[in-house]
């Protein structure tokens, strides 16, 4: 791979972003389908994908909107779910080169997703603005394209298949959570605490009156605070996985 590197930094970024793009198209097809199944139109789903560019946040967002959640609840939930991005942006802000302008920071951070971050942070040396623009180009449009396809195709699917697709988002969440939980006992314990609290908020009388958005925030913050207290993360590299 290294010897076939294009000289042009933008093209280098484009090449590195293509695998991300392909992955996004498939995930965002599921998002498009989920959005339509919750009663959103194709254009609404597309607008969400074009303006948010975040998988877990969007999935959670449409669930809450469909449930008629309050604005503050949505804002707080989005903040909690997406707060990890602040760490990624922070890391990237240390890695960009001297010619990275303020306007570049404003634009590039818009598409600072988990995968873009993963690729950018694993790249040797400093990051140029051209490379970063190349890197985010195809993932951004792939995310939108998949959303459109998923939302459009969904209308042609029979009811029982659409219902089965309702578990797709959870399948993705499982795929994100389980591998690190398998490798690190601390993650496993934090996840177990979060799940236990989540079940309490669903099934225990009185407590289950708390709306789902706030319940998730309480579960996640409590579990993560316990994790941070008892299993502080040692290396910065761990955070960048």
């Amino acid at each position: 791979m290294a010897n076939s590197k294009p000289k042009n930094l933008y093209l280098q970024g484009l090449r590195d972003g293509l695998p991300i793009c392909l992955g996004y198209i498939s995930v965002s097809i599921a998002f498009g389908m989920a959005a339509v199944s919750y009663g959103f139109t194709v254009w609404q789903a597309l607008l969400i994908s074009l303006s948010c560019v975040t998988s877990a946040g969007q999935f959670n967002g449409i669930t809450l909107i469909a449930a008629g959640a309050g604005y503050i609840e949505i804002a707080l939930t989005q903040l909690i779910i997406n707060i990890r991005y602040s760490l990624m942006s922070l890391t990237l802000s240390q890695k960009v080169d001297g010619r990275f302008r303020l306007i570049d920071r404003f634009i590039v951070s818009f598409v600072d997703t988990d995968e873009v971050f993963a690729v950018a942070s694993s790249k040797q040396g400093e990051l140029s603005n051209k490379y970063m623009y190349g890197l985010i180009t195809t993932p951004y449009f792939g995310w939108a394209l998949g959303t459109f396809l998923g939302a459009t195709l969904s209308a042609f699917l029979p009811e029982d298949i659409r219902q089965a697709l309702g578990v797709a988002i959870y399948g993705m969440f499982i795929a994100i959570v389980v591998p690190p939980a398998k490798k690190q006992r601390s993650v496993l314990i934090v996840v177990a605490i979060a799940v236990a609290l989540s079940c309490i908020f669903r099934y225990v009388p009185y407590v289950n009156g708390v709306s789902s958005g706030f319940a998730i925030i309480i579960c996640a913050v409590a579990a993560s605070v316990l994790g941070a207290l008892f299993f502080p993360v040692k290396e910065a590299e761990k955070l960048e996985q």
Binding site: A56, N60, L79, L87, M88, G166, G171, I176, Y203, V221
Partner: protein, 105 residues
């Protein structure tokens, strides 16, 4: 959807963007607090886990569908299959389970 869709989207997009943009624009130094860094490390997993269980049990057509989706998803994820593979297989498992449940019970 009792509230305005566009306000919802503006909030989602605004919060998501601010969370990404502010550290990139404002901070030049690394966060030193080990507690905060550890907290941020665990947050995504805790959020996703809390969102998945117990909600997955009610996401398909019946409880059997949800349980099948969870079991199949966790097994495949243990073998570190990709997001799409796990998601699709969970859907297939949910479909198969609800199919069996409808026909046999």
């Amino acid at each position: 959807m009792s509230n305005n869709f566009f306000i919802y989207v503006a909030i989602m997009a605004g919060v998501t963007y601010l969370v990404r943009m502010l550290p990139m624009v404002l901070f030049r130094k690394k966060i030193q607090s080990r507690f905060v860094r550890s907290f941020m490390y665990y947050i995504p997993y805790a959020v996703l886990a809390a969102m998945t269980i117990p909600d997955i049990f009610y996401a398909g057509n019946g409880l059997a569908a949800g349980i099948a989706a969870l079991v199949v998803g966790v097994i495949l994820a243990l073998f570190e299959r990709g997001l799409l593979t796990v998601a699709i297989c969970s859907c297939v498992a949910a479909y198969a389970a609800s199919f069996v449940q409808d026909r046999l019970f």
